[in-house]
């Protein structure tokens, strides 16, 4: 049971990470900085609960806000570069954040134990949940409540003007600009929003695994983060969720019995998925099929009644 709860936690955290990249991809920005914001979120909220003894919720919130603030700062210079240059610039940002945390050493004695980030040893003993009597099921519940909240928020965003503006910038910047969209504002807002979501994901990750170090925040994780929405499709938030379940649930956990050969197969499965559905797993057809299916059921219900 604990094993499945563990997978559910991982899927939740990775879904948040994927959604943070999704927001940016809507505006056509491919960013590998999400793992930098993730790292900021996890260190800040970890320090708040471990060293200052805060409650988890305000700590998560502050972690998310700090990550969002850094995303806001990164947003402005990142406007100058586009496409693949942006990819490289954001890789540089993530690596700088990782290397800075690699050197952070802030050991404090709390209740007779020395805790806090210990540079190369990483940040251990983020034991808020265990210390306050949370069971794993509660942690899963908290993570998924936040995931659902974020997904509903993004779903709603797609239904109102803001979503249309984001997608317009993603489709054609020039056209969007000539229709009076403020590019700077939209792009920086998307970057900030993505940063906040990644920050929450980082805080949740640090507390649910109790341990982070610089290996956690490698560029591999950032690449996973952008892979989810691209593999899942940008049509709506469900694509990201499906891609996370496909990669984390099926390929990584489901194929664990294959041992070391799993990664070899991982590559091929992604290639196959990308070749057959270049627009993502959940593309326009999938959504309309789903809608038709739902409508059919409703009709049947009507006749029976």
């Amino acid at each position: 049971m604990e094993y499945y709860l563990g997978i559910t936690q991982t899927i939740g955290v990775h879904t948040l990470l994927g959604l943070s990249a999704y927001v940016l991809l809507l505006t056509g920005q491919l960013s590998l900085a999400q793992v930098g914001f993730f790292a900021i979120g996890s260190y800040v909220s970890g320090i708040l609960t471990v060293i200052f003894g805060w409650h988890i919720l305000p700590a998560l919130l502050v972690g998310a806000l700090v990550a969002g603030f850094f995303a806001f700062l990164v947003g402005f210079p990142a406007l100058r570069v586009k496409g693949l240059m942006l990819v490289v610039a954001t890789i540089a940002f993530s690596e700088i954040v990782r290397l800075v945390f690699f050197n952070v050493n802030w050991r404090v004695e709390v209740n007779g134990l020395e805790v806090g980030p210990d540079s190369t040893q990483g940040f251990r003993e983020i034991r808020y949940f265990a210390a306050n009597g949370w069971e794993q099921a509660h942690v899963v519940l908290l993570i998924w409540l936040i995931v659902i909240l974020v997904m509903v928020l993004l779903w709603w965003l797609d239904k109102v003007r803001a979503g249309a503006v984001l997608r317009a910038v993603g489709e054609d910047e020039l056209a969007a600009q000539s229709s009076g969209v403020n590019l700077t504002m939209v792009k920086v807002a998307a970057m900030t929003g993505g940063g906040v979501i990644a920050g929450i994901a980082g805080g949740l990750f640090a507390h649910s695994t109790t341990y982070v170090d610089h290996h956690t925040f490698s560029i591999l994780l950032a690449t996973f983060a952008v892979s989810y929405p691209i593999l899942g499709g940008l049509k709506n938030v469900l694509g990201t969720l499906m891609a996370v379940i496909f990669i984390q649930g099926f390929i990584i956990e489901g194929l664990r019995f294959m041992g070391d050969y799993r990664n070899i197969l991982f590559g091929l499965l992604i290639i196959v998925a990308m070749n057959f559905r270049p627009q993502g797993l959940v593309d326009g057809n999938f959504t309309s099929d789903l809608r038709k299916l739902l409508r059919m059921n409703q009709k049947r219900g009507g006749i029976d009644a």
Partner: protein
């Protein structure tokens, strides 16, 4: 004196970075794509060479040949799976994610070929040369000359052969090149093969000077090549060479004056600064602003 010594060391090491960057630059210039699996294909070449060394047994020559051929083969494999199916404008992201998947795959295959993680790599022993107080490591001088010859051969291929003309024409405008009778269909494969050869030479130089190979080499060389290319200029060949030398120079000085823990922070900081101040790199801005890149928002 220290300054001069450090500068020379840095520039000599930078020649290997320049080769890595040239491989990236070729792919970027012709395909307008970033190949995340580039370093992994070089790692695959090196790992294959280590694995085959006892079977072939030609010493350093065999290791060199297998590294280069293995890297070129892996490069073509990457092109077939990740890049040729996604040529259109919408394929930028799809091909990047696909190359990410192949990166994981090649890394795993290489780890299987290197069961002990760290393996010794055939080195070349050449005596160090010293004159008027400056010491030059023999193998680094060899690096430098190998890099010069490889770059010369690349320039000759690009500017003196019909194949090079076709490559350059296709980099400018693949549609027009096709309409004028150029066989552009297999050009992607040739580009990736050529980039793999350049990268394989660089990988051999770096690995033999370290004397060992670990599975970390893949990501490391992707980063170094990418940074060197970006510093110098996107898709510009002189830019790649300048970027490689600059990266070697900067790393040597930061390591010498500030210590190794600052090296990577400062190289990434430098990269971020240059990208923000001059998008497209030091020598590549014109390409970025006026060429197809600007039109297609890549």
């Amino acid at each position: 004196m220290d300054f001069l010594q450090t500068s020379i060391d840095g520039l000599l090491f930078g020649s290997a970075y320049a080769l890595l960057a040239l491989g990236f630059s070729l792919i970027f210039g012709i395909m307008k794509r970033i190949n995340l699996a580039y370093g992994s294909s070089l790692l695959f070449g090196g790992a294959l060479a280590v694995w085959l060394e006892p079977i072939i047994g030609w010493g350093a020559v065999g290791v060199f040949l297998v590294t280069v051929l293995g890297a070129a083969f892996a490069g073509i494999y990457v092109e077939r799976l990740c890049f040729s199916p996604h040529l259109g404008k919408t394929g930028v992201m799809a091909s990047m994610i696909a190359s990410f998947a192949i990166w994981m795959q090649l890394d795993e295959i290489s780890s299987q070929l290197l069961p002990h993680r760290t393996h010794s790599f055939a080195g070349i022993d050449i005596e160090a040369v010293s004159f008027s107080g400056i010491i030059l490591r023999g193998d680094q001088i060899l690096h430098f000359w190998v890099a010069v010859v490889a770059i010369g051969a690349l320039y000759w291929t690009l500017y003196r052969t019909r194949f090079g003309l076709l490559l350059r024409a296709s980099a400018d405008d693949p549609d027009t090149a096709y309409l004028l009778g150029g066989k552009v269909a297999r050009l992607g494969m040739a580009t990736f093969g050529l980039a793999g050869v350049l990268g394989g030479i660089a990988a051999f130089l770096i690995l033999s000077s370290d004397g060992q190979i670990t599975p970390h080499f893949g990501l490391w060389s992707t980063f170094k090549g990418l940074i060197a290319m970006m510093l110098g200029g996107v898709g510009s060949l002189p830019g790649a060479i300048v970027g490689g030398l600059l990266l070697g120079f900067a790393e040597a000085h930061v390591t010498f004056y500030l210590g190794a823990e600052f090296r990577d922070i400062l190289t990434f900081g430098l990269l971020l600064l240059i990208l923000v101040l001059r998008p497209g790199g030091l020598l590549g801005e014109a390409i970025y602003r006026t060429g197809r890149l600007a039109a297609e928002r890549i």
